[in-house]
């Protein structure tokens, strides 16, 4: 059956007129390179820096002493080594979960207040989005190396892998329904086979990212949230273990790729 489906799909390609698939790919790569050169990502990094250094919450302190895994206040390479196990929280955390932890422990903010508006829009990006841009920018050139040694890191990876292939929701879908087979697309969008190293690497090395189609800066937590929305599931809770596990699975799969985000995407 699979071969039959693939045969029909390639027949579809053969029917395409004029521009060859090869040329199209090359031109689209050129487009992507040019938009990356002229990307406003730096503005988000700039605003994120201001928020990182801004005293906030009942304690009126900034996040400058936040320990993202490399020591208090160390930003260099921190994002590339997330998610990882944090002894103080006894939990595997991704960037957003760790930022929430610091907002609570350093700034004295409640989870409710800190998560009131985690996903922004084109007119008003969220604090999380700005901060992600700023923190991630300090990992450019650093190879992705999410934690794999601690038992809770192993557990997070295994859970993420199981979630990736788990079919449920009103439409019986798993992540693999769309990201499980090579050379497939939704509408015109190419779908990366994310459980495979060669596909996961370039994707995980460029999130979080600015999307030119809607002028918004998006985090990995948003990416997972929006996939579940489209898969017709209920909503994953922000920075919950399930969402972190998926990021752990994907980042471990992409291990070794030099981080080059925040990215600029279509």
């Amino acid at each position: 059956m699979k071969r039959f489906v693939a045969g029909l799909a390639s027949l579809g390609w053969a029917l395409c007129p004029s521009v060859s698939a090869q040329d199209t790919k090359k031109e689209i790569q050129k487009y992507q390179q040019m938009i990356a050169e002229g990307s406003p990502v730096e503005l988000f990094e700039l605003e994120g820096e201001a928020l990182w250094k801004k005293p906030q919450g009942p304690n009126k302190v900034s996040l400058e002493k936040c320990d993202l895994g490399q020591g208090p206040g160390v930003l260099k390479g921190a994002y590339a080594r997330l998610p990882r196990y944090f002894r103080d929280a006894d939990r595997v955390m991704d960037l957003e979960a760790r930022l929430l932890h610091c907002m609570a422990t350093l700034q004295g903010r409640s989870r409710d207040e800190a998560t009131k508006r985690v996903f922004g829009n084109e007119n008003q990006p969220s604090e999380m989005e700005y901060l992600s841009a700023y923190v991630a920018s300090h990992s450019r050139g650093v190879r992705l190396a999410a934690g794999t040694a601690h038992p809770k890191e192993k557990e997070s990876y295994e859970l993420g892998r199981a979630l990736f292939f788990h079919r449920a929701g009103a439409w019986d879908m798993s992540c693999a329904s769309c990201h499980g087979e090579a050379d497939k697309r939704i509408r015109m969008q190419d779908l990366p086979v994310l459980y495979k190293r060669e596909f996961a690497r370039p994707i995980m090395a460029t999130w979080p990212a600015y999307r030119v189609s809607n002028s918004q800066f998006k985090t990995m937590q948003w990416r997972i949230n929006d996939c579940y929305r489209q898969m017709r599931y209920p909503e994953p809770i922000f920075a919950s273990d399930a969402t972190i596990a998926l990021t752990t699975f994907l980042t471990v799969t992409a291990a070794g790729e030099p981080y080059r985000g925040p990215g600029t995407k279509r």
Binding site: T24, E27, K30, M34, E37, G38, A50, R266
Partner: protein, 143 residues
């Protein structure tokens, strides 16, 4: 509001008198055809030139952001305008290069649909043009 945006606001108030002097060609930007826009810019019927270099992808995945890089190798270039034939208002921008600037600019434009993009250069008081087609929407079977 962050401290930075407060600073920006301050900048807004202080910078006002300076920028208020700048001119903006309302007729040219309001023109509904590239030809009318060129007339308003005083650059009607430009001569084709191969000394205008347009660097742009043939296919843009998204019309909201189409990167275009243009430069002029025509001696005495003083200005450069970018026009998108099929946009409701074709004139996207006009750049005047004074002593000290090279006739070069890279910018991102919006394109409603696939269209010819014209770059019109004025050099020694005479207009010249180069044209490049850019397709919007992803390729493959796309238009």
């Amino acid at each position: 509001m962050t401290r930075r945006s407060l600073l920006v606001l301050l900048g807004v108030l202080l910078a006002k008198p300076l920028a208020a002097l700048a001119a903006w060609n309302e007729t040219a930007f309001g023109a509904k055809s590239a030809a009318d826009a060129l007339k308003s810019l005083g650059a009607a019927s430009p001569a084709p030139s191969t000394d205008i270099v347009i660097e742009a992808p043939q296919i843009a995945e998204n019309g909201a952001v189409v990167p275009i890089e243009v430069s002029s190798n025509i001696p005495g270039t003083t200005s450069l305008a970018v026009l998108i034939e099929k946009n409701p208002f074709p004139l996207a921008g006009r750049f005047e290069f004074k002593e000290g600037a090279l006739p070069f600019v890279k910018l991102n434009v919006k394109m409603g649909e696939s269209s010819d993009v014209h770059v019109v250069v004025v050099a020694g008081g005479k207009p010249y043009v180069a044209t490049r087609e850019i397709k919007v929407t992803i390729g493959g079977c796309g238009g």
